[in-house]
């Protein structure tokens, strides 16, 4: 039956087990990082003392000892490429474990369900409460649930905002109505989206909104781990069946052709997306493993071996060994190594000075009174260090050319500042020369006692009627 938005409401039942514990561990780590990181102080010797600070106004991103400038924005592209490759890599190996364990929709839904359970009780109590008429106790319980959800949403929104300003100051400003408008707007927006997505929409987000859940399925192959119900063992030849008085023990069940599934429905009740895993792999499955925990609990209690539902691959089900080392793993793994290596190299070797040189194109060249040709260039320098840099600007590859930096005797670049300098280059063109001659601006400076040299290619343009005649 195709899903539609008005299918039955899902009341996930609680379960204990290895995968549930793992999910709680991930949750604690993620929340511990997300909510406390803005409060971590960091001494970077000048500049703000917050470990992670995205300072939009000053155009600086502070990540511990790394200060990211707008010119380094391509690192963001590198990060996103890396994140995408990691997702592909993990999905190819172990299916949608990102969805089940790490996605913030899953994490926050988990917390919101826990709040719901804390106030309203276990699954059956919640179903009963929903069916009950609106009496004070129901209003109280429902109201308290939504209130706690809103508080959780607000804390989530506020924590996000704290990354973009000095956390203690911002909190103080926030509650004395002095914070910037953007802080209130962002907090309000994230409060609303968290409340709606984690409180109300929940699995609908995964089913109808999330694009990743759809395209992850194309990365599956026969070696990808998926949550699967052992149909052979569970159904036997006569299908699953509840524990009955006449068929109490396992042997008598097997003789009757009955499988090991006692059709208790626990695996369905714990599923956060409300599917029955026994019907096979479905697009709704987020690979969270809670049904495995549920089934293992039941198997333990009846004393049969675990693993009626487990993480397995198609190849393993067919009796072969799952191959983890395959072309997809190696390919994505190599790509991850290359991208992370390039990113790391770029971060580690970033210079303290960067420059750009763009030629003034209007006019492209000018004839001087002594017959020479002049081209102008706009040089932009950016100092990423904490000290004043004195720039020594020169030319390379343009013999006989004169460089004129105007009236500036000494070009100083204040710490964390940028500067524009107009440069004029004059040259008596060779009659047989080219219209365009490539050359290089070479800029040297002393950073921390070390000579740093930055080069930028450019070109010198001569009017066509000045050559070849």
């Amino acid at each position: 039956m195709p899903h539609s938005l008005d299918t039955h409401r899902i009341y996930p039942r609680s379960v204990k087990g290895a995968f549930r514990s793992l999910k709680y561990l991930v949750l604690v780590l993620a929340y511990g990082t997300y909510f406390t990181l803005p409060w971590l102080r960091w001494d970077r010797g000048g500049g703000p003392d917050q470990a992670i600070l995205f300072d939009i106004h000053a155009r600086r991103f502070y990540l511990f000892d790394l200060v990211v400038h707008p010119q380094d924005i391509f690192w963001l592209a590198g990060m996103l490429i890396l994140a995408a490759l990691l997702l592909f890599f993990v999905t190819g190996l172990a299916g949608r474990v990102f969805c089940g364990y790490f996605c913030f929709q899953t994490l926050w839904s988990d917390v919101f369900v826990a709040i719901e359970r804390f106030v309203q009780g276990e699954r059956t109590a919640r179903i009963r409460l929903d069916k009950a008429p609106w009496r004070p106790i129901k209003i109280l319980k429902k109201g308290l649930t939504h209130l706690l959800w809103l508080v959780m949403s607000f804390v989530t929104g506020l924590a996000f905002v704290l990354y973009w300003g000095d956390a203690p100051t911002l909190v103080e400003q926030f509650f004395s109505a002095e914070a910037p408008f953007a802080a209130y707007a962002t907090t309000l927006f994230l409060t609303a989206t968290t409340y709606v997505m984690a409180g109300i929409a929940r699995e609908q987000v995964c089913l109808y909104m999330c694009p990743y859940s759809r395209f992850q399925s194309v990365m599956f192959d026969e070696d990808t781990l998926v949550v699967e119900y052992d149909r052979l063992r569970g159904e036997g030849s006569a299908g699953r069946g509840r524990l009955q008085k006449t068929l109490r023990d396992r042997d008598s069940r097997h003789q009757a052709g009955m499988g090991d599934c006692i059709d208790c429905g626990y695996c369905v009740q714990v599923c956060p997306t409300g599917i029955d895993i026994r019907e096979g792999l479905q697009i709704e499955c987020i690979s969270c493993g809670l049904c495995i925990d549920a089934c293992n609990t039941i198997m333990d209690s009846v004393g049969w071996e675990r693993g009626l539902i487990k993480y397995t691959s198609e190849r393993s089900r067919l009796g072969e060994k799952t191959r983890f080392i395959k072309a997809k793993t190696l390919g994505y793994g190599a790509a991850i190594l290359v991208v992370s290596g390039a990113l790391l190299w770029s971060v580690l070797t970033r210079g303290d000075l960067d420059m750009s040189a763009s030629q003034i194109r209007q006019p492209l060249f000018v004839l001087l009174s002594d017959g020479r040709i002049q081209n102008r260039y706009e040089l932009k320098f950016n100092n990423k260090s904490e000290q004043t840099l004195v720039l020594d600007i020169g030319l390379e590859g343009l013999p006989g050319a004169e460089l004129d930096l105007g009236t500036l005797e000494r070009i100083e670049l204040a710490p964390e500042h940028s500067l524009r300098v107009m440069a004029k280059v004059r040259l008596a063109p060779e009659p047989a020369g080219a219209e365009q001659t490539p050359f290089t601006f070479v800029v040297g400076t002393q950073v921390g006692g070390q000579q740093e040299v930055v080069r930028h290619p450019s070109q010198f343009v001569v009017p066509a009627n000045r050559i070849n005649r």
Binding site: I360, R361, Q362, P363, V366, L367, L368, S369, D370, G371, Q374, R376, D404, G406, T407, L408, E409, I411, E412, L419, R420, V421, M422, K424, N465, R466
Partner: protein, 309 residues
């Protein structure tokens, strides 16, 4: 009367308006979706609130002005008016943080002398970026956005040749008061031969290969009272800056494209054309149109364009 009927295609029951004509002709009632109706009511409520908050309805000769006010300065007077985007723009151009910072920087540059500005990389960068806009708004229509000018009409500001002087003070004077460049036409004064002789002499001044005999005759006219050219162009041909007279000894020609001409005959035609027809060029004064600070920044900018002296 039945208020529903069967919809022929889907078979589901559909509400009707309850009207029936000719016994069996009924009218379906397909009400708008509830969310749509509510969205409509919300827009109505929004409109009513908007009418109260913002200028909205015409009332006789005036109109409802909304609730908030904007204060800005206009012509030395403080004006307070009802909220409108034009007043808000004026207010922000005067009172925003950015405007405040720009004004402070402008005052710093205005109170500094040219030598200080030229020696300070930050001030130079400010002058460059601010004056670029002023130049684009006021000067570019004639001199071009990069100051390259138009041959015969508007001098090139990007080269190092200055008709009226290339020091930053000269440039400031030029912008403040404008210039009126004039060279009389000589077609009544010179006969054909004299014109050709002066042309050869003038071309020879900038190093062109000319007929030495003709140039010698031309020199006599140029340096003598027949032509009187040396009054303005000086005896060495370098030009009197106070008159805006062109330097005839360098490679730059502001009226004609001599370097681009195909051969000597073409060059001669160009030069003799200028001599016989004369030159009249006018640059308007900018004092009063631009503030002294703007003219100062502009002087720095133009000086930097080509390499002032």
């Amino acid at each position: 009367m039945a208020n529903t009927t069967d919809k022929p295609k889907t078979g589901g029951a559909v509400q009707t308006t309850g009207h029936a004509w000719d016994g069996d002709i009924q009218e379906f009632n397909n009400p708008l979706p509830t969310w749509w109706i509510w969205a409509f009511y919300l827009t109505v409520a929004f409109a009513v609130i908007y009418w109260i908050l913002y200028p909205a309805w015409p009332m006789g000769k005036g109109f409802t002005t909304g609730v908030s006010e904007v204060t800005f300065e206009s012509g030395g007077k403080e004006v307070t008016t009802h909220w409108n985007t034009r007043a808000r723009l004026a207010h922000e151009m005067q009172a925003s943080d950015e405007a405040q910072r720009q004004r402070e920087y402008l005052e710093r540059v205005a109170s500094a002398d040219f030598n200080t500005i030229f020696g300070d990389a930050d001030m130079m960068a400010f002058a460059q970026s601010t004056a670029k806009g002023i130049f684009g708004d006021n000067c570019a229509p004639c001199h071009g956005s990069g100051g390259a000018g138009v041959t015969a009409l508007f001098p090139n500001l990007a080269d190092d040749d200055w008709l009226w002087g290339g020091s930053v003070d000269d440039i400031q004077t030029t912008i403040q008061h404008g210039r009126r460049g004039y060279m009389p036409p000589f077609k009544q004064t010179f006969n054909e031969q004299q014109l050709a002789d002066v042309t050869d002499y003038v071309l020879g001044l900038s190093g062109h290969q000319v007929d030495p005999e003709a140039a010698k005759r031309g020199q006599a006219i140029f340096q003598g009272e027949t032509g009187g050219c040396y009054y303005c162009h000086l005896t060495d041909g370098t030009g009197r800056k106070s008159q805006g007279a062109a330097n005839l000894t360098d490679a730059i020609w502001t009226m004609i494209d001599v370097p681009g001409a195909a051969d000597m005959d073409a060059k001669r035609r160009l030069v003799s054309g200028v001599i016989s027809n004369g030159v009249t060029r006018i640059m308007p004064p900018w004092d009063g149109r631009l503030s002294p600070e703007q003219i100062k920044l502009l002087s720095v900018y133009v000086h930097e364009l080509g390499g002032g002296q």
